[in-house]
């Protein structure tokens, strides 16, 4: 599709570079006997990852396994003797509705009603290792694996039916949780067939799947599978859990980042009945039988901290460029060059250079970090809302010097993640307090703690230079991202000469992944710059993009969004402006059109947003629309007003009353165009739909006012003030 074969120097999938992603020291490997002891009789299908031996041995992609499982297992599926279908996956549910989508995947291939399927997710004792729920990987990677397992189980059930009735396979079909013998007009429920069985099979990657054109359960808008539990308040998030004998924990936070504890007087708190106070290095925490008592005890602690002088947000962007980290490999930068930028700089008819800034923002998941920890002898069980249960298990094993199999992490469906729950701070704190108190401890972060002691979406500086030929062809493209990250740093446009570089820098704040990673920042810079280049050659921004773009899927979402939006209309009122932006990330192709209204006082209101999205074959249309709408709303915050203010190791606006997140009053009309490509594999959709919003809005503001906003957030106090101060 792309006629300029620019080989991407970046891996297709960039793991969150800021997080530790090392493989665990141990893999869960029950043998066959243990499996049935754990799950009960019935049939088990194990998904092997890259298990080439299975293919070689059986020649058909299936084999009966003996006593051990393959090393690399991604999921397993069990059909019990009562017919219950249980699926085990290390993925977690944080609101993206992957529990529902994966249920659909299994229902589709197993030919069983969705309500008979139970997903066990994110439990390190029960589910196979999984690196984490991020990077939009559940749909393109986990879903096909579960479908293969379900398809294999279906074929095994047909095998069992042939024995059950002593008939040939031909003429037996699976449907509605039964195997049906059409010729003889009889059927057997799955439960009947698996009774007394202990059959286990490992499947390899070539198990044939139902093509999207034949989907009956997938491609449908199955409602959230456990939705009822949420609207009735019955669902228990981590922060709602209660164990017998449980204490409530709280940590005494340092006065600033990097502070060390110079003295602690805990004498008063320690005299309170039932109160445990612990100091371990710079860690000070309290556990007590009620949250009120815990809070009172913490208030009685007299601590003195010493903190190093630290920088402030005011000189953030200078700091980032000044403090570039040199080096190669994971910690270092990366980049690529094609053609000759030197030649193009000399030859270009027109050129434009600009610098874009991106602020730190906070994820502010509505459920702050929380954990419940319980020790039994030297074994630790923790419940916590994290996107990386196995990562948190490793953290705990490391901190408490335990073998990993002594630690169990369980993740209840969580009150949003936004890319911000990759770490296990609350889990470690709760576990430390529980060990000291000898009782289970629950620890729930306050909103201020979540704002301060979690991590931030990286700030960044992006320098862009575009070079143009006579006819509006982009001939050269230079793009340097300092600190914010490498996701979507490349350009989808066909440009013969490019130099693109990511420069890591020392970050004054603790930073990590955020929904869509740096794709938001890089799209903001690239697509804002594309608009300026279009104006330089007096072309319509859409026409200019299409002129320089060959990727058919991206072209088609641009065209779909523009058509729905009515691109090219004349302004009907003062202060009105239209903008467009788009790109490709994590297999998704997105284009967004925005209409803004800029009041005389400079207040920017986003009036209307149209997003066209192509993520391959659509798995659940309503949930996909929901994700796109939600990504749009979340994107409004980072685009217009969210920014963390900090000084000398302290966050200055770490509360909802001083840090504005999008509300009902910020809501534009949002229209979604789904470009359903049944011929393409399904890509994830939780992240990419947000990346076009900020540049589309910035381009619309420019259209309305002639003011180019090159800093995210673009209009924290309206645009005039920003222009005056910037």
């Amino acid at each position: 599709m792309n006629s300029t074969p620019v080989v991407s120097p970046y891996p297709e999938f960039e793991p969150e570079r800021y997080e530790i992603t090392s493989s665990p020291a141990h893999r869960f490997q029950p043998n066959r006997r243990e499996f049935f002891k754990l799950l009960g009789g019935g049939i088990v299908v194990v998904c092997a990852l890259n298990d080439t031996s299975a293919v070689q041995e059986s020649g058909g992609g299936r084999r009966t396994f003996s006593e051990s499982l393959p090393q690399e297992v991604s999921a397993w599926l069990h059909i019990g003797e009562e017919g219950a279908v249980t699926v085990y996956t290390g993925k977690v549910e944080v609101g993206q509705n992957t529990r529902t989508a994966l249920t659909q995947a299994v229902a589709e291939e197993l030919r069983v009603p969705s309500n008979l399927i139970r997903m066990v997710m994110g439990d390190t004792d029960l589910t196979p290792f999984d690196m984490g729920t991020f990077g939009s990987r559940s749909t393109p990677v986990m879903s096909p694996q579960l479908r293969r397992a379900a398809a294999a189980a279906r074929e095994m059930l047909i095998d069992l039916a042939t024995k059950h009735w002593n008939v040939e396979r031909a003429g037996l079909v699976a449907a509605g949780g039964k195997i049906i013998d059409e010729a003889r007009q009889r059927s057997a429920e799955y439960a009947e067939l698996v009774k007394g069985q202990k059959v286990a099979r490992t499947i390899a990657a070539d198990q044939p799947l139902t093509p999207a054109s034949g989907w009956k359960v997938m491609a449908q808008s199955l409602p959230k599978v456990n939705g009822r539990d949420f609207v009735t308040g019955r669902h228990r998030y981590t922060s709602d859990l209660k164990l017998p004998n449980m204490l409530y924990g709280k940590v005494l936070r340092p006065s600033a980042f990097g502070a060390t504890l110079t003295s602690l007087d805990a004498s008063e708190a320690k005299t309170m009945p039932g109160v445990t106070v612990i100091r371990d290095g710079d860690f000070v925490g309290v556990a007590a039988p009620s949250p009120e008592l815990t809070a009172r005890a913490v208030a009685l602690l007299r601590a003195e901290w010493k903190s190093p002088p630290q920088s402030s947000g005011r000189q953030l962007f200078e700091d980032l460029k000044r403090n570039v980290v040199e080096g190669k490999g994971r910690e270092g930068g990366f980049g690529h060059s094609v053609g000759s930028m030197d030649r193009i700089r000399a030859e270009a008819t027109d050129q434009l250079q600009a610098t874009y800034n991106v602020a730190y923002i906070a994820h502010t998941p509505l459920e702050p970090r929380a954990a419940v920890a319980e020790w039994k002898d030297d074994k630790l069980a923790v419940w916590t809302g994290t996107q990386r249960p196995f990562g948190v298990r490793s953290e705990l094993a490391q901190v408490f010097r335990l073998p990993e199999d002594h630690v169990r992490v369980q993740v209840p469906d969580t009150g949003s993640g936004c890319g911000g729950k990759h770490t296990g701070e609350a889990a470690v704190e709760a576990a430390r307090l529980a060990r000291a108190a000898g009782r289970p401890v629950k620890l729930v972060w306050t909103r201020e703690e979540e704002f301060t002691w979690a991590y931030f979406r990286p700030a960044g500086v992006i320098d862009v230079a575009g070079y143009l030929g006579h006819d509006g062809t982009i001939t050269g493209w230079e793009f340097h991202n300092y600190n914010s990250g490498g996701a979507a740093i490349g350009t989808p446009y066909d440009i013969p000469n490019q130099h693109i570089q990511f420069h890591p820098a020392q970050s004054p704040l603790r930073q990590g992944s955020y929904r869509a990673l740096a794709a938001t920042a890089n799209h903001f810079a690239r697509e804002s710059h594309m608009d300026d280049l279009a104006r330089l050659v007096k072309m319509d921004p859409l026409e200019f993009r299409l002129k320089n773009l060959k990727d058919a899927r991206l072209r088609s979402v641009f065209e779909a969004a523009a058509q729905k939006f009515g691109w090219g209309r004349a302004r009907t009122s003062k202060g009105q402006g239209f903008g467009i932006a788009g790109g490709i990330e994590k297999g998704g192709h997105v284009a967004t059109c925005a209409q803004v209204s800029v009041a005389d006082a400079g207040k920017v209101q986003i009036v209307r947003v149209v997003t066209a999205f192509d993520c391959g074959a659509v798995v659940n249309p309503e949930h996909l629309r929901n994700q796109i709408e939600g990504a749009t709303v979340m994107g409004i915050g980072g685009a217009l007003f969210e920014a963390i203010a900090f000084e000398d190791g302290r966050i200055l606006n770490g509360r909802f009353s001083s840090y504005r997140v999008p509300r009902f009053s910020d809501l534009p009309s949002i229209e979604v165009v789904l470009v359903d490509r049944q011929d393409q594999p399904s890509a994830g959709a939780g992240e990419t739909p947000m990346v076009g919003l900020a540049p589309a809005v910035g381009n619309a503001v420019f259209d309305a006012t002639g003011v180019r906003l090159r800093s995210l957030p673009m209009a924290p106090n309206g645009i005039k003030q920003q222009v005056a101060s910037g």
Partner: protein
């Protein structure tokens, strides 16, 4: 310190023994084990902790339990008879007006209060009334249509 010894929640009397200055949210969640109301910010800014007191939406995180000791309190758990769904709960499900669901109980209870005073609100009226409730998943559009749908269902139930 004044103590509170009884609370009327969801039509039931709960015996407690707590300091009157404690936040209602904490008492509901940690003492009565009704965890449907959520902690989101602790300063009445996000609405996740909303409960109905005398039918009015109140931020339980900044409400002292002493102030509501003798008043009827409704939490999400008591909105519909056991096993059933209030029309707004059904409407939220039908409209997929949730992703992670953490804001849902506060949203639904606030909407219940809205429809009590304004049985047929416009989208603008809904957005204005609900503006103190935050959904970080960004399902605001769907919440608005769920409330419109809930209003219709309630109207039909009345007639």
């Amino acid at each position: 310190m004044a103590r509170v010894t009884q609370l009327q929640v969801n039509g039931r009397a709960y015996a407690v023994d707590v300091d009157a200055a404690t936040s209602l949210l904490s008492i509901l969640r940690d003492h009565v084990d009704l965890t449907g109301a959520k902690y989101g910010c602790g300063e009445g800014q996000c609405g996740a902790c909303t409960v109905l007191i005398d039918g009015l939406p109140r931020r339980s995180c900044i409400t002292q339990v002493g102030a509501v000791a003798n008043k009827p309190i409704t939490t999400i758990e008591g909105l519909a008879p056991s096993g059933g769904l209030h029309p707004l709960q059904q409407a939220f499900l039908d409209a997929d007006a949730l992703q992670c669901g953490y804001c849902s109980s506060g949203m639904i209870l606030t909407a219940v209060a809205l429809l009590k005073t304004n049985p047929d609100p416009t989208e603008q009226e809904i957005a204005r009334f609900m503006n103190g409730n935050v959904c970080r998943c960004g399902t605001y559009l769907r919440i608005i249509s769920a409330i419109r749908q809930g209003a219709k269902m309630l109207k039909e139930a009345r007639s």
